[in-house]
């Protein structure tokens, strides 16, 4: 029997072996990177809105408190999206004829709320409550980033479960005094870990249950 394979079959065999290992490794690394990329998580990617609302202008420029519009953040799971009337407290006086605000005026006239697009949309199987986080000393900025520097609003965090757990496992790294919660420019002290431990005790953070499945999946 003659030779079944030509000499180049050796090279092909090696290519298949090493190429196969390389392919699996490359695809794994690529998937790992993709899942964490802004392209996939849409971090820092502004979402289109009916009115190009600028947090930078309202929070950073004018210094309006978060709670002026997001009124229920301290009492309820939902921070609250302001009704058109809240916009009109100012915009009935200033920029009252600006074309960009036409949808706001239409909304007031017809009584139909503006359809804002959610930027932070958690899956339905996640139970999340704003009030408990705010009242125990998690700053708005810790999750939502520097909204005072966002001309158009975008996610600042991927909202992955790993990211939730980073804090739920070690809340002392992120807690701040409750009166500093809405501060966009808060600087954590150098002894944050020890300070955080004090805040855990002071604010009665029940760390034992923070990573139970049913804390967030009810």
């Amino acid at each position: 029997m003659g030779q079944l394979f030509k000499k180049r079959a050796n090279a092909i065999a090696k290519l298949v072996i090493f190429g196969g290992v390389g392919l699996v490794a490359t695809v794994s690394v690529a998937l790992y990177a993709l899942a964490r990329s802004d392209f996939w998580t849409e971090v820092d990617v502004p979402i289109e809105q009916p009115v190009p609302f600028s947090h930078q202008h309202h929070v950073g420029g004018l210094g309006i408190d978060c709670r002026y519009c997001h009124t229920s953040v301290e009492q309820s799971p939902f921070a609250g999206v302001p009704p058109t009337e809240t916009c009109m407290t100012c915009h009935s006086q200033v920029w009252k004829d600006a074309p960009v605000l036409q949808p706001v005026r239409d909304s007031l006239q017809t009584g139909k709320p503006i359809k804002w697009t959610r930027v932070h949309d958690l899956p339905d199987y996640v139970y999340f409550d704003h009030s408990i986080h705010v009242n125990k000393g998690i700053g708005c900025e810790s999750c939502h980033g520097r909204v005072d520097r966002m001309p158009l609003t975008a996610k600042a965090q991927p909202l992955y479960m790993r990211w939730c757990l980073d804090c739920h496992r070690q809340p002392q790294n992120f807690l701040r005094p409750t009166n500093e919660v809405v501060d966009m420019d808060y600087k954590a002290p150098v002894n944050q870990r020890a300070f955080g431990q004090e805040l855990i005790a002071k604010n009665h953070v029940h760390t034992a249950g923070l990573t139970d499945c049913y804390t967030c999946h009810r």
């Binding site: 079944l4 065999a13 992955y160 479960m161």
Partner: protein, 451 residues
């Protein structure tokens, strides 16, 4: 020695050439046999039925199976334990009997290993489908996920993933390494260039040089050593799925050895179920002799007695523990709503098995075939009884319930037989079902010792 008194492990009068021809002819003969085609068609039809049942399951969810509280495990876990148990005989034959220098393993190890692989494939399906969301099965693996979660090591499900995954990996490698010299033989004997190329690629450049053989024997022996503990560990882990629970009838230290014995018991029954028709239809009686069948029967008798001992111990421990839940469970098994299943398993595994004490029966292929079928039914029923009776009435009478498999349960179970049979039919037709190289070795040794 009394070698003359025993049936031979290979009929006399064979040499290297005739052994090779006889085994490779099963694969290389054209055209395909009508009986083979008919068998594959039936098996494939059953496989399609399972695919249909699985499709409906994925659409509707596990609710279409009869499972609900209190019986949440049902057929899926019964089938899983049954199939994974069947696989064990293959590894037992190929690894443990190799290390013990049992030359009668030679002509049955190849197809027994194939049986292991296909049984594990069937077994693996059931826990995956039982997950409810099988498409996220990879959550069971430790990988750098975005959830910050690690598999729950206190969960028996995760142990199963590792036990079965290890078992499948080692079994595939062991089987394939053993195949190398044989696919090289197939390559050399194939008529057409295309077939030669296919077997040539599979043979990974095997030339049969002395260096190849030396390395081959080292690797094969090492793999046998690696596979040996798996015979005991895999089904022990499966048994711990039950034993870690506090449910009456499960929470018992006897489970690992009792399950391993049951696994080898049902596995050898499957070996006989496959060997007896194969030797008949392909006229391999000279290679798979009465001696093989008798030895398998003896192992079945021994492991069957161990299993029977397990049943007795379970009853004794229930009485000895003086635990009213254990006592109730035992009585409920024997006389409760599932009593017919319990007595069926006792009849098959303890009653029918006793026939194997008689040499006349052990050497009669037709009777052995029927007994093997009884034992497989018995072993499936045993797992059914373990899963169902413990769950359906545990500590809280207000949560008692009755479970019956739905038509989807039965379609999936019977369909998995179709999957197994389809794979096995293809294996018979595509690869040498008996190890050619080891048979040549055996023939050589026998003629040496006869001289």
């Amino acid at each position: 020695m009394n070698a003359q008194l025993e049936e031979p492990v290979v009929a006399p009068g064979y040499d290297n050439a005739s052994v090779t021809k006889k085994i490779t002819d099963v694969v290389l003969t054209r055209p395909v046999h009508r009986g083979w085609l008919a068998g594959l068609a039936v098996a494939f039809a059953l496989l399609m039925m399972m695919n249909f049942a699985i499709g409906w399951l994925l659409l509707k969810g596990v609710g279409i199976w009869g499972v609900n509280v209190p019986v949440a495990w049902g057929f899926a876990i019964t089938n899983f334990v049954w199939w994974i148990g069947i696989g064990h005989a293959g590894t037992f034959i190929s690894a443990i009997l190799l290390l013990l220098h049992q030359d009668w393993r030679t002509s049955i190890n190849r197809f027994a290993e194939a049986m292991t692989l296909f049984a594990v494939a069937c077994a693996g399906l059931f826990p995956l489908l039982h997950l409810g969301r099988p498409w996220v099965f990879y959550w069971l693996l430790p990988y750098p996920d975005t959830m910050g979660m690690w598999p729950q090591w206190r969960s028996a499900l995760v142990w199963d993933v590792f036990a079965v995954g290890t078992y499948l990996t080692v079994s595939i490698i062991f089987w394939y390494v053993g195949l190398l010299p044989d696919v090289a033989t197939m390559r050399d004997r194939a008529a057409s260039k295309r077939v030669q190329m296919i077997y040539g690629i599979l043979a990974l450049g095997w030339r049969g040089s002395a260096r190849h053989w030396k390395r081959f024997h080292i690797v094969y022996l090492l793999l046998a050593g690696l596979a040996t503990p798996l015979v005991l560990s895999v089904h022990s882990v499966v048994s711990m799925d039950f034993a870690i629970a506090i449910v009456p009838g499960w929470h018992s230290t006897i489970f690992p050895p009792y399950f391993v014995a049951g696994a080898i018991f049902s596995g050898f029954a499957m070996v006989l179920t496959l060997a007896i028709p194969i030797r008949k239809f392909y006229h391999l009686e000279d290679f798979i002799t009465i001696r093989h069948l008798e030895n398998c029967a003896k192992i079945m008798l021994a492991t069957g007695l161990m299993v029977a001992h397990g049943y007795i111990t379970e009853g004794f421990m229930a009485w000895y523990s003086d635990d009213k839940f254990e006592i109730y469970l035992t009585l409920n098994r024997m006389f409760g709503p599932y009593a017919p299943a319990y007595w069926l398993l006792i009849f098959c595994n303890v009653g029918v098995n006793q026939l194997l004490w008689f040499k006349k029966i052990r050497t009669n292929p037709a009777v052995l075939f029927v007994i093997a079928l009884f034992i497989q039914v018995g072993m499936w029923t045993e797992r059914y009884v373990i899963v169902i009776t413990s769950l359906h009435r545990d500590f809280l009478p207000s949560a008692w319930g009755i479970f019956h498999g739905t038509r989807w349960d039965w379609m999936t179970l019977i369909g998995s037989l179709g999957l197994f049979a389809s794979l096995f039919f293809l294996f018979l037709r595509l690869l040498p079902a008996i190890s050619i190289s080891e048979m040549r070795d055996l023939v050589h040794k026998k003629s040496e010792s006869a001289r």
